[in-house]
Amino acid sequence: MSEALLRVDGLDLYYGDAQALDGVSLEIAAGEIVAIVGANGAGKSSLIRAIHGIERPARGTVRFDGTDITGWPSHRVCEAGIGHVAEGRQVFPNLTVLENLEMGATPRRARAAERQTLERVLEMFPRLAERRRQAAGTLSGGEQQMLAIGRCLMGQPRLIMFDEPSLGLAPTIVQEVFRIVRRLNEEGLTILLVEQNVMASLKIAHRGYVLENGRIGLSGAGGELLANDRVRQAYLGL
């Protein structure tokens, strides 16, 4: 494999004395969908936040597109081209849908084409277009998830890290979310997908990692992991 788009090496993260990540290494090549699966509390969100610079890792490095971005503040990481659709959606409830989207275009890099991106996003999510002047806090859970995704696209990232985008959504909306992830990937975006929906995410992923208690336990192609006995027992209940 040529130089990965994202490469994480030996990442350790602590909250006080409690260790959340222990020597996590992984890589994602441009154009891939890579899934990270693991039980509640395994450290999936911590990993994403550490890559993003929202948490400070104690050891290890994060390289994006050949640049060492370890320890960069989160706004610089966004500027570098990493997008984040966070756990719990994290929309701005008192801002309108349009204002939320505008906030997505915070990276300067994304400003020049902001109007065109907005048009594309509203076309992709017609529900958001209908509700553009509505406060984001009044949207349904599914609509808020679409808004979180649209807002992330406004920053024109090259890599998007999704943290449980289907959590708490109705089955039809869950399917919709996975369709969107796949479509974005087909349009050339690289994707890191954290999901509790192990079956669906490993199915669309090129490769996957299993995170257990802050450590990478297994890794392999999506299909391989789906066929693995340990994965089937622990995460699929088969």
Binding site: H52, I54, P73, S74, H75, V77, C78, E79, H84, A86, Q90, V91, F92, P93, N94, L95, E99, N100, E102, M103, G104, T106, P107, R151, C152, G155
Partner: protein, 293 residues
């Protein structure tokens, strides 16, 4: 007799409304800072008194009207507020409230004693040419200086509203206030926005000081009173609500003026505190506050 009384009541209400607009601008500064970063600025009245002194000095030594020195004072206070937040206060964000309280109390004490050392304890006032001008509307008489101060306060509040709803930085500040994690996720530089917010809050209260000196003489001891007054207004209006701060300012302005007429001028704060207690009992989130936040 009754018509005389009604006229003086209407006159007091008018005066209270005009003063209340300047109060509202002062309280707006406190409200913006609290609403965005949950820092209670215990040095608020002190910052305003410094603004009053600067406007007084500009008038006394450079013969510049406070209305003209206002933009300069506001700009200076913006820079000072920005610097104060990014150096001193920033490490205290998210720490227990009593630590923030001690820090800002220290700032307050420094500022008051600075004023005392430089300008002395005597009361200082600005005697402008328009001091005794007035406008008449039917039987009502408006002091020119008070009317000008009120109009300027409203104009500044309007600019602030435009800033928060029309500019990217303003919207970013509202976003960071709304959801801190969301702000980090989209790549907002939250520390810079906080510094900007403190700058905006300080500029508001500095501008309010420049207006206030045209209607009230200043002494260093006014500072603590104004800090308290700003708190009363913001709590009555609803913490973190811009409309609340402005309306609270009007309400307290009017209540002070009417209390001065019906009771005694020295009892005016008692009435303000009475209103505060009533609001806390009946509508603890404040008149324009959202419950549960």
């Amino acid at each position: 007799m009754t018509s005389d009384f009604l006229l003086s009541l209407a006159q007091a209400v008018t005066k209270g409304l005009l003063t209340g607009m300047v109060y509202g601008l002062m309280a707006l500064g406190l409200s913006v800072i609290f609403g965005v970063m949950r820092v209670v600025n215990f040095a608020h009245g002190e910052i305003m008194v410094v603004g009053m002194y600067l406007a007084w000095m500009g008038f006394e030594y450079l013969q510049v009207s406070p209305m003209l020195s206002l933009p300069v004072i506001a700009a200076l206070f913006f820079v000072a507020g920005y610097a104060l937040q990014s150096t001193l206060i920033s490490p205290f964000i998210g720490r227990p409230e009593h630590q923030q309280f001690l820090l800002l109390l220290a700032v307050a004490i420094l500022l008051v004693n600075g004023c005392l050392a430089i300008a002395g304890p005597d009361s200082r006032s600005v005697q402008m040419d328009s001091q005794f001008d007035s406008y008449e509307l039917g039987p009502l008489v408006f002091d020119a200086v008070r009317l000008h101060a009120a109009l300027a306060a409203v104009a500044i509040a309007g600019l602030l509203w435009l800033f928060f709803t029309r500019t990217r930085t303003g919207k970013s500040i509202r976003a960071a206030a709304d959801n801190n994690m969301g702000a980090l996720v989209v790549g907002l530089d939250v520390r810079r926005l906080y510094a900007f917010t403190f700058g905006v809050g300080a500029a508001c209260v500095g501008a309010a000081g420049a207006l206030m000196i045209t209607i009230i003489p200043v002494t260093p001891f006014l500072a603590a009173e104004y800090t308290l007054l700003a708190f009363v207004i913001v709590i009555v209006g609803g913490l973190g609500s811009m409309t609340g701060a402005l309306m609270g300012g009007l309400l307290i302005g009017v209540s002070e003026a009417v209390a001065g007429l019906l009771l005694q001028p020295s009892l005016k704060s008692m009435v303000s505190f009475g209103i505060l207690i009533l609001v806390l009992l009946l509508r603890p989130q404040g008149l324009f506050g959202k419950s549960g936040t």
